[in-house]
């Protein structure tokens, strides 16, 4: 069942057939992955051949939609290693998942309480905490980053105190590719609620949130080869039970009246309104497909390509990688700076050669400040990436530098 990573895998990703005939080296997987055929089929199948709203109707089409939606929940529970399907809240993406947690926990915050985020975070894991900390009089502090772009956990050890209520960190940095040591963070802050942003980790294989020891975990469908518009918030049963609702609307209630409203149990309490049914079914199909793959082979492939990329960049004059040296505890996400040439100009010119890179702050301005750069270019790998993609970047870059510097 498992396909070899690299070129053979492209048969399963319709974009490659669509782009055939033009140079196409997609190295922007950190921004969004390409959709896998089974996810596209599940999405389109629902939308065009079996659409009905879920959780409400009793006629055949509606009942089938509800069954499919339940099955999607079970699939995501399996992918994450959740204790039960009831721990899976469907959202529109990682950002929404993190907002549900942050706003949900807001009522527990007392003046002087501390929320610990980090300099490595995506804005999605900073701004929601700032939004809720302010009114509560709580303080958001940031775990610093080491010079090579990892969480500085020694600093965390010194930061945690009895006022530290929440620690919210990324599982994998979307800039440096560094993998956080969640078990150690858990040990350093045993009493804090531990929230993990898994957006960049989810595309790299099934998870075990229970073993990880965190309380909440967030991910996005579009980064794990599912459709845009869906995501998951996982919450440990008792944590989710204790969380008040954030969004109001249909499906999240038990009883509504102008005299007072009571709320449904999790996960429904957090799923107000018609969910993104098609995207959710597509995401679950992608997750089931990912669970069938040979992840040791895929990880080895990513490591090989990552090394080729890191070594190649190191050999180009004036190029500086921001991130860990090797591929230990690091995924194939590589941000770099080119002396005297702006990332946007690099990405624009490489784009003409079919090399798709992201340039900018990657929604991680505090990290950019830490590195003292305005913007970097970033290449991010997926299992369908191959050496040609990496080489197209490595060959194109010196030409671009020559032209623009």
């Amino acid at each position: 069942m498992s396909l070899a990573p690299g070129r053979p895998l492209r048969a399963r990703f319709p974009i490659f057939a669509a782009m055939s005939g033009q140079p196409f080296h997609y190295l922007d997987n950190g921004a969004t992955g390409q959709i896998v055929d089974v996810a596209a089929d599940a999405l389109l199948g629902f939308e065009t051949r079996s659409r009905a709203n879920v959780k409400r109707g009793v006629y055949g089409l509606a009942d089938a939609a509800t069954v499919a939606f339940d099955k999607a929940r079970a699939s995501m529970a399996a992918f994450l290693g959740a204790g039960s399907s009831e721990e899976i809240v469907f959202t529109s993406g990682t950002t929404m998942a993190l907002n549900i947690v942050a706003h949900g926990l807001a009522g527990e915050l007392r003046p002087g309480d501390r929320i610990v985020s980090s300099v490595l975070e995506h804005h999605s894991n900073i701004v929601p905490w700032q939004l809720v900390a302010g009114p509560a009089g709580a303080v958001v502090r940031a775990i610093p980053a080491t010079g090579e772009g990892r969480l500085d956990l020694d600093a965390l050890a010194a930061m945690v105190d009895e006022r530290t209520r929440i620690v919210s960190v990324t599982h994998v940095s979307n800039v440096t590719g560094a993998v956080s040591d969640i078990a150690r963070i858990r040990a350093l802050a045993p009493d804090a609620i531990l929230v993990v942003d898994g957006a960049q980790r989810a595309p790299h294989g099934p998870l075990d949130v229970q073993a990880m020891g965190c309380d909440f975990y967030a991910l996005s469908s579009h980064k794990m080869f599912g459709p845009t518009g869906a995501g998951v918030l996982w919450g440990r049963g008792e944590r989710l039970d204790a969380l008040p609702p954030f969004l109001g609307g249909g499906e999240m209630i038990r009883r509504v009246s102008f005299d007072g409203t009571s709320y449904a149990r999790p996960p429904h309490r957090f799923e107000a309104g018609t969910p993104p049914i098609g995207p959710v079914l597509g995401m679950a199909a992608a997750a089931r497909w990912l669970m069938q793959q040979d992840w040791s082979a895929w990880a080895a492939h990513e490591k090989r390509l990552g090394e080729r990329l890191l070594n190649g960049l190191a050999a180009i004059d004036g190029v500086r990688v921001h991130g860990p040296q090797g591929l230990q505890e690091r995924l194939g996400i590589v941000a770099f700076e080119v002396d005297g040439v702006h990332a946007h100009d690099v990405c624009q010119m490489l784009g003409d050669r079919g090399v798709c890179l992201r340039g900018g702050h990657h929604c991680a301005q505090p990290l950019m400040e830490r590195f003292d750069v305005a913007a970097t270019a970033r290449a991010s790998l997926a299992p369908y990436s191959d050496a040609d993609d990496v080489d197209a970047l490595l060959q194109g870059l010196p030409e671009v530098i020559g032209r623009l510097r």
Binding site: G57, A62, D70, R254
Partner: protein, 139 residues
């Protein structure tokens, strides 16, 4: 399919009115809602040591909910409280495809195939479980 669902035995059970009404000064009482449709079952229990002595229910619901509530009233009195409280989980598992039907629910076999109607059956058992939970303190 619905012809199976609404077989005569089920419709008869639903209309039987077994246990319909309220108990005066019950040892335990609880209400369960079906958030999908607003249906609601209230179960009252009177205990006798560790056993359910008497039970009544007030039910606003579809035929499935009515039949399930009647079924609770028909089979639960005389049962050990813990056994009765565990029925909700047994019903949930049975509906999900595991195990045999709890006593009386044989007539509901076809409901298992209709996901959206599972709650209709469940809420009577949830109200029972919660009523026993309340009664627990006064046992």
């Amino acid at each position: 399919m619905s012809e199976d669902l609404y077989q005569e035995a089920l419709v008869a059970m639903a209309k039987s009115g077994i246990g319909a009404g309220r108990l005066e000064a019950p040892d335990g009482t609880a209400t369960a809602d079906n958030p999908l449709c607003g249906d609601r079952v209230t179960v009252d229990v009177r205990m006798d040591g560790g056993r359910v002595r008497e039970l009544a229910h007030k039910t606003r619901g579809c035929l499935l909910t009515q039949a399930a509530a009647a079924c609770v009233a028909d089979h639960v009195p005389g049962m050990d409280a813990d056994d009765a409280a565990s029925l909700a989980e047994a019903v949930r598992r049975w509906l999900a495809g595991e195990g045999d039907p709890p006593a009386g629910l044989e007539i509901m076999e076809p409901v298992r195939a209709v996901r959206s109607r599972h709650e209709c059956v469940l809420i009577a058992y949830e109200a029972l479980r919660d009523a026993l939970g309340n009664a627990g303190t006064s046992r």
